[in-house]
């Protein structure tokens, strides 16, 4: 090599795709060897390959709200144990909510990568474990302190100098109601980290450290240029939005998320400091996850097409207030940390909707809408637990209706439970599974409809758990589009003992009891009166809109 030249774009692009493929391979390793469906089906996991300065070289699409949130774990560990704390062959684990930002079920496993005795990077992955020993199976709906939510780990070594620590695996196994899958998933995560280590070593061996460093700098610079240009295209200004959760799961007061988005030149600042103080129910999250959620919203609007790397998010600053619901500190509970985050993501989109009208969309139905039914199966005497998130409507955008009956953001690519599987496995019948007509917000483009899912209990006794949200701030419309209908859950509808509830723990049920869950729709986009009458008539034919709503809201007979 003669002339000093920045790396050519060809090598840069080959290295860029090699980083990205390394992350995909880590992800494939994790999903292939995971024991629990929550990882291989819900994709409740995330992987990243980092450089020695904790910057992302490649990240694979897992759960969007883990975006850009793995490097915090290696960074914090280094702050605690120093640069010299990293030793070849070590793998670490941590899950503390106030460090990682998420709930204790999410275990982050990571390890340093060395080439010729030089620290060159880290491989990291995070996955949701089924059970980490909380007071209720899986995790509580009404915890008041983090100590009720399971075992809590700061950074600790799970592999020491290449040898797996049996004492740590034993500790983790003993603290889970499902110890076998817990230890199995730990093995899958370690295998994933090992894959990342091998891939980065191979990439460096193939292209050389200098080339890799030059390529990395250029890749980051390209991403930063791309994103700065996109942010600069947004008119300068301060944009606000706020919305509330119904309650924190224990109390009855709404929980407010308030934010401002400031655009100045090619910089964006999202300020969350006016959000409510931390709550006594489990709707808090650590600062790191609040930042991640802002990054998800930013990415959806600014750069959805490219995999994230260390050059991404450089134009973004997030301000979080310690002690608030989004900057939780000990001992505030964090089990349902993602409930305010779904709202937060939608609110950032809402704040910028006027200035990014083509990227924005009306709000979605907003949360996981979890139903849990448990009991003893009288047919075989075995305990059973059906725990399901429920699909709902998504927001419309300029040019398209929102989708009807679709899973929410934080559940990845989760599929609903088929009726035939549900009735075979559990002593229940599903008497209705249908779209909820008129539940989407009206608009020139209609918000998606939520659904109705009705269960009838077919065993002597059972218990009901519910986590349904967003009745106080249902999905809003944009640009004149209407708001959606909020969720409703009715036990024994149209009977003398009808009861309505959205969040509940351990409600007693007997044979013949009916639980009718109805999820909300998505927000509409644009004035309903501007909707093409042919589209309205088609919606009526397809029973997505009633003839009455067609007449009263859309002005179409």
């Amino acid at each position: 090599m003669t002339a000093v030249r920045t790396l050519d774009p060809i090598t840069t692009e080959i290295v860029r795709s090699a980083f990205s493929a390394a992350a995909d391979e880590m992800n494939a390793t994790l999903i292939r060897s995971a024991y629990t469906p929550i990882i291989y089906e819900m994709k409740d996991c995330s992987v990243a390959l980092l450089d020695a300065d904790h910057r992302v070289l490649g990240q694979s699409a897992g759960l969007p709200i883990f975006l850009g949130n793995l490097e915090i774990c290696t960074r914090l560990t280094e702050e605690m144990y120093g640069r010299e704390g990293w030793q070849p062959g070590d793998v670490w684990i941590m899950n503390d909510s106030y460090l990682t930002g998420t709930h204790l079920n999410d275990m982050t496993v990571f390890g340093p990568i060395f080439v010729d005795d030089e620290l060159v990077g880290f491989a990291a992955c995070r996955a949701h474990w089924l059970d980490v020993g909380a007071k209720d199976p899986g995790g509580p709906m009404d915890s008041t302190e983090i100590y009720q939510e399971g075992i809590r780990l700061g950074p600790m070594k799970v592999v020491d100098g290449g040898v797996q620590r049996r004492d740590v695996a034993d500790l983790l196994g003993r603290n889970s109601r499902f110890s076998y899958p817990a230890v199995g998933d730990l093995g899958a995560q370690i295998a994933c980290v090992r894959t990342g280590q091998r891939r980065l070593e191979a990439i460096i061996a193939k292209y050389g450290k200098e080339t890799i460093d030059a390529a990395r700098d250029e890749i980051f610079a390209q991403t930063e240029r791309f994103e700065r240009a996109a942010v600069a295209a947004i008119p300068d200004g301060v944009y606000r939005a706020e919305g509330s959760l119904d309650n924190d799961g224990n109390g009855t007061d709404p929980c407010w998320v308030r934010l401002t988005v400031e655009i100045r030149g090619d910089e964006m600042t999202i300020d969350l400091t006016e959000t409510d103080d931390a709550k006594h129910g489990p709707v808090n999250c650590g600062e790191a996850q609040a930042i991640s959620a802002c990054r998800v919203a930013y990415k959806l609007l600014i750069n959805p097409g490219n995999p994230p790397n260390g050059g991404a998010f450089r134009p973004l600053t997030v301000e979080v207030r310690r002690g608030s619901m989004l900057g939780a500190e000990e001992p505030y509970p964090c089990q349902w940390y993602f409930t305010p985050l779904g709202l937060l993501i939608d609110l950032v989109v809402k704040a910028l909707a006027d200035v990014l009208p083509d990227q924005a969309a009306g709000a979605s139905y907003g949360d996981s809408m979890v139903i849990g039914i448990t009991g003893i199966d009288h047919r075989n005497g075995r305990p059973w637990l059906d725990l399901e998130p429920t699909v709902g409507g998504w927001g419309a955008w300029r040019g398209s209706d929102g989708e009807d009956g679709l899973i929410n953001n934080v559940n990845g690519s989760l599929k609903d439970l088929p009726i035939e599987v549900l009735e075979t496995k559990f002593p229940m019948r599903m008497t209705e599974y249908a779209f909820r007509t008129d539940s989407g917000g009206a608009g020139r483009w209609r918000g998606g409809n939520g659904i109705v899912r009705e269960y009838t209990i077919d065993c002597p006794e059972a218990q009901l758990f519910l986590w349904f949200e967003r009745s106080v701030t249902p999905a809003w419309g944009l640009a004149g589009g209407g708001d959606a209908t909020p969720p409703v859950v009715v036990v024994n509808p149209n009977t003398g003992h009808e009861r309505r509830m959205l969040k509940a723990s351990r409600v007693a049920l007997v044979r013949g009891d009916v639980i009718r869950t109805m999820t909300g729709g998505g927000g509409g986009f644009g004035e309903p009166r501007e909707r093409d009458p042919e589209d309205v008539r088609r919606d009526v034919r397809n029973r997505h809109v009633t003839p009455e709503a067609a007449r009263d809201v859309y002005g179409v007979e």
């Binding site: 050519d8 774009p9 060809i10 692009e13 860029r16 795709s17 090699a18 493929a21 391979e25 494939a28 390793t29 999903i31 292939r32 060897s33 469906p37 291989y40 699409a61 076998y180 199995g184 093995g187 295998a191 250029e218 390209q222 991403t223 240029r225 791309f226 240009a229 990415k299 959806l300 959805p304 969309a361 979605s364 998504w394 927001g395 955008w397 398209s400 989708e403 009807d404 009956g405 679709l406 899973i407 990845g412 690519s413 599929k415 088929p418 009726i419 035939e420 599987v421 009735e423 599903m430 008497t431 209705e432 599974y433 249908a434 779209f435 659904i451 009705e454 034919r541 397809n542 997505h544």
Partner: protein, 678 residues
């Protein structure tokens, strides 16, 4: 007189035939333009190019994409769907999952049946197949009237738990027949896929109702026309499973042909595995604008029991074909000062700049042309001449923007796409628990042999195989397959609760069904072979593994649960890298496959003519950023034993094989090209 075993592949533009001449012991390939007004004309023309005609055919097999095209162009039948009351929206909810996680503008694929054309019918079975509520026959009559009055082309019936107890679906069929006669075809879900999960079964049934009438009409027409022209043997049709059936039975289960198009290539890989004694192959099929990958593992095609077509699930046996990126059509462009190749594709229209159809952005094909790695006059068998200047202009414009030399950029575009394709293949093998180094790479399609050596190098695959007729390999592969009939049904039970006699009886029943079905295909009982397998998982898992059984009576044998458990543990270990011996397992489905061999062509050994010399020319081709003098030979001129050292290029009617510097190409006794890094 039956002299030829013939396969016919009728594409949009060309009709390919590959024939094995049993007298001469040779393969021949013919080609002609497809004749849309009467497809048999194209077939006859193609047969004529190899001195054959229908009367001389002793065996014929045909791969059709008629059903798939009807689906892709959304010109299938208008379908009325009958579903269980309370569950009519299952088809539209479509399990509610999102396949693109960073997309707030996500939409599911638009269902083939609008919600207004779904009729809910009273009548309910429970999880044991017992009737909770009788079928509402009047509602079915009303639906039949609607189907007739509104001019529906097909009726699909998918009721809950019909996979356990089909009585309600059969009753519905009886009533529909009574009302409609055979004017409107009826698809019943339990016949299409006797498996649980109502959405997947409904989707399969709707796809059948939507496409099958098109396929049936086509097969009727084609077979009648060929018979009229003298064909005396049954026409066989390729299925998505990699096996074939007679056109007669393909008419009854047309859905099985839906994804058969690219499967011939994989089955060609299976035949090559046998012929060359290389059991593990990565098959790449790269055309001008496509790149498909499939696997042959231990000499068998990689078959799944479920597939997805533009997001619609299909419960049936399908050879796994993974479409990766866009191959030669991938567009190179600049973004934020960096080079990107794909994922946008120029498609076939406008296509690469060198097609001269209005494309101006440089594609991978343009880059290959600039580098001299394609013979512009020989592209697509000389049917299309490429415009080198247009390719140079397109590449030069981007090179200016990126401040690169055009030749450097052209090779860079190929390097980037090769790296990306290799990475995609590696990820695929990691997911399957396979080590690429233990495989050979089989390259076909017009552009596969052009890129194969580079991909192999990236993957550490030691050997590349370019079969004969790489452009018509799919047609060749079809000649090498057996009759195949698949039977499956849900069978959900924990292993601990298994009634061994009951399972053995179910398997025996399926074996009888399979043998009968093979008899209808002309396979005698002694030539019939039936394989059985169970879908199994650890209790609590979602995904299953298909575990083969030794025979229908194996469940009755002593120690069966232990045998099965350890077989499953071993398979789990191989596939997922870990197992859980001792953990409870459960059965989910029972599968039986009837296979009947129709005899196949003996591999044709080519005699070596005098020595291994061959004529060649020298041409400049770019490798490593500079022009190298490369040897260019016609494949027809190579003989068994010929050795070609890279840099070189082998041209033939349907493909170009690039031999990079450092690689050595040899011709074996079957005329297959193999390449290894020296």
């Amino acid at each position: 007189m039956s002299r030829f075993r013939v396969s016919m592949d009728i594409g949009g533009t060309f009709t390919d035939v590959v024939a094995y001449d049993e007298e001469a012991g040779t393969y021949v390939a013919g080609k002609s333009s497809t004749t849309p007004h009467d497809l048999t004309e194209g077939v006859l023309d193609a047969l004529a190019t190899i001195d054959s005609h229908p009367e001389l055919c002793g065996f014929t097999v045909h791969g059709t994409t008629q059903g798939l095209n009807a689906f892709l162009q959304r010109r299938g039948e208008r379908v009325l769907l009958l579903a269980t009351a309370g569950a009519g929206d299952v088809y539209h909810i479509a399990r509610g999952n999102r396949t693109r996680l960073y997309d707030i503008h996500f939409r599911k694929p638009t269902p083939l049946v609008p919600r207004a054309d779904i009729v809910e019918i009273g009548g309910r079975l429970n999880y044991a197949g017992e009737e909770l509520e009788p079928l509402d026959v009047d509602a079915i009559r009303a639906a039949a009237h609607r189907a007739r009055e509104e001019g529906f082309g097909a009726v699909a019936v998918a009721f809950l738990f019909s996979f356990l107890e089909p009585a309600h679906e059969l009753e519905a069929e009886r009533v529909l027949l009574e009302e409609l006669g055979d004017a409107i075809p009826v698809s019943l879900s339990h016949r299409i896929a006797r498996e649980w999960r109502e959405y997947e079964r409904t989707s399969s049934t709707v796809l059948d109702a939507y496409t099958s009438p098109v396929v049936r009409r086509y097969l009727d027409r084609l077979e009648a026309a060929l018979q009229q022209k003298g064909l005396r043997v049954p026409l066989h049709v390729m299925q998505s499973s990699g096996g074939i059936v007679t056109a007669q039975s393909a008419r009854q289960l047309s859905l099985q042909t839906l994804l058969s198009g690219p499967v011939g290539g994989t089955m060609g890989g299976v035949a090559l595995a046998r012929m060359l004694d290389r059991p593990n192959l990565i098959c790449i099929d790269m055309g001008g604008t496509s790149f498909d990958v499939s696997l042959v593992v231990d000499g068998r095609p990689d078959v799944s029991t479920e597939a997805s077509l533009e997001g619609f699930p299909l419960l049936m046996s399908v050879v796994n074909i993974h479409t990766v990126g866009a191959g030669g059509g991938s567009i190179a462009h600049a973004e934020a000062g960096g080079l990107r190749v794909g994922p946008e594709s120029a498609g076939a229209d406008p296509g690469p700049a060198c097609y001269r159809r209005g494309g101006t952005q440089p594609t991978v094909t343009d880059a290959n042309l600039v580098l001299g790695r394609v013979d512009p006059a020989w592209f697509a068998g000389g049917q299309m001449t490429l415009d080198v200047e247009a390719a140079r202009r397109a590449v030069a414009t981007l090179a200016d923007e990126l401040n690169l030399d055009p030749v450097e950029l052209a090779e860079g575009i190929c390097d980037v796409i090769n790296a990306k394709m290799a990475q995609a293949i590696r990820t695929l093998t990691v997911e399957k628990g396979i080590e690429p180094r233990e495989f050979a790479l089989v390259a076909f399609g017009g552009a596969g042999p052009m890129h194969a050596a580079f991909l192999a190098q990236e993957l550490d695959v030691p050997e590349v195989i370019v079969p004969r007729f790489p452009g018509a390999f799919s047609a060749w592969g079809m000649l090498e397959t057996a009759i195949r009939k698949d039977f499956a049904r849900s069978y959900f039970t924990p292993l601990a609760d298994l009634h061994h006699e009951d399972l053995a009886a179910v398997l025996a029943g399926q074996e009888r069904e399979a043998v009968e079905a093979l008899a209808e295909e002309g396979i005698s009982e002694s030539a019939a072979r039936v394989e059985h397998a169970l879908d199994i998982r650890y209790v609590g898992q979602e995904y299953t593994l298909t575990i083969p059984l030794e025979g229908a009576d194996e469940p009755a044998a002593d120690g069966f649960p232990e045998t099965l458990s350890s077989r499953f543990d071993a398979a789990h270990e191989t596939r997922f890298g870990h197992a859980n011996p001792g953990a409870p397992i459960e059965l989910v489905a029972v599968r039986s496959t009837g296979l009947g061999d129709l005899g196949r062509a003996e591999p044709q050994r080519l005699g070596s003519r005098d020595g291994a010399g061959y004529p060649s020319e020298e041409q400049a081709i770019v490798f490593g950023r500079r022009e190298r003098s490369a040897r260019v030979a016609r494949r027809d001129d190579l003989q068994p034993g010929s050795v070609v050292e890279g840099p070189a290029m082998i041209v033939e009617a349907t493909a170009t094989t690039v031999v990079p510097p450092g690689w050595t190409l040899r011709v074996d006794e079957f005329g297959t090209l193999t390449m290894e890094l020296s």
